[in-house]
Symmetry: C2
Subunit: 244 residues, 2 copies
């Protein structure tokens, strides 16, 4: 397949996938240089999202998906009675907004937990370009599928793990994702509150706090508010599987 070469302005290049350091984690993952060049025509706009602001809200008309460039997000769903369930946390290189494709409206809110930047990927353009660039089509399908698999992992966590296991799994998952982004696997800042962690894990904030303290007593971690040090990864891992 030959890629038609289209000139790109300097302003566009500044934002181009082909020069983005996240390209091996994000939509361009595994694409050839030519294929990524096509993406540069697709992903030309950025959006800043301040802490506390949302990228989209449940019910908003769907028009684009977003690649996280910098920052940290949570997604949540709010029930009629006001209960609020956090359905995920998202970090750079991850794609958000795919929940909106099916109904043309977003089903979740996605809110920045710190000042953040996202790349806007207009969805109809994505579908067009995916038609020309087979690798992109494939990669997009992969990303949606992985979202499904991730969600199944969360179901497993919520459906059959005890509170300590959930928190251990949560910390190990964050650690893995940080390390994939070149950060320390053992030391990081939580961007979310205890309540948000609890909501995501199906626990109350007090339970989260207590278990952090317990892990600290057991010298598995050091917690200082939002600052986490994992002292004993294997120890945390061994907590998984103590459920029955």
């Amino acid at each position: 397949m030959k890629a038609s070469v289209v000139p790109i302005s300097v302003a566009q290049l500044k934002h181009a996938c082909s020069t983005c350091s996240l390209r091996e984690l994000c939509l361009p993952m595994g694409l050839s240089r030519e294929e990524v060049a096509h993406l540069d025509q697709l992903v030309y706009s950025r959006r800043k999202v301040k802490r506390g602001e949302s990228v989209y809200r449940a019910g908003d008309p769907f028009s684009a998906i977003y690649a996280i460039r910098t920052g940290f997000f949570k997604s949540n769903v709010i029930m009629e009675d006001g209960r609020d369930q956090v359905t995920g946390f998202h970090m750079p290189g991850e794609i958000i907004g795919m929940d909106g494709i099916g109904t043309e409206r977003h089903s979740t809110n996605t809110i920045a937990l710190e000042d953040s930047d996202v790349c806007v990927i207009p969805f109809s353009r994505l579908e067009e370009i995916a038609n020309e660039v087979r690798g992109l089509q494939r990669q997009f399908h992969r990303m949606m599928s992985r979202e499904i698999v991730r969600d199944q992992g969360v179901m497993m966590l919520l459906g059959s793990m005890r509170a300590e296991e959930r928190l251990a799994a949560f910390l190990l998952n964050l650690s893995q994702r940080f390390v994939a982004r070149g950060y320390s696997p053992s030391e990081f800042y939580l961007r979310m509150t205890r309540e948000e962690i609890g909501s995501f894990l199906g626990l109350k904030l007090e339970t989260v706090s207590r278990i952090f303290s317990k892990f600290q007593e057991e010298k598995l971690i050091v917690v200082q508010l939002k600052h986490i040090c994992i002292l004993n990864t294997e120890g945390l891992r061994s907590i998984l599987g103590q459920g029955g």
Copy 2:
């Protein structure tokens, strides 16, 4: 868009999407007559799955997704320590297997709960034809997205509902899906055991049984083993939202 007309043998037609009574629930949903005709070239093989057999198992190489033609399925994930979490139940018209796209291997087991039939949809062919038939590409993306939204609904259920709410939501969800398929919304047979229901809902089988009994005492339903009659849909619905 003009569809090129390709002759289809009688043997193929027998299995064709264009003559399938589920086409308004399944992959062909919303496609034009011409577009559905393209699908007839894609979905040409059927597979019988006997009760207890699996369509695919976790770890199996991914090659196709499947449209359920008849029968009933559960999907589950099994943890290293043997714990088994049911991640979904599936009925005719639904698409299963999309979890395998991302890693080229399935991440769940999907097992027939009664003798069933599935239409085999070879995935690379699907991607090819989706390139030619825009409506199909769109529709496939919709189906993946809906799977994501469904999973978020399960997260909500597991993460922030009490046991009674979970079971009420479960029954109402089944009821809705049956009615969409032309069955009674208020009377149906459960194809799964109490243990499987419990696993899906993050509850023990005894809890499921107790709550069924409680609902029966409250004249919301009649339970006779696997046979369920919903007497008071509004009553069940009002149980949702008694949690916070």
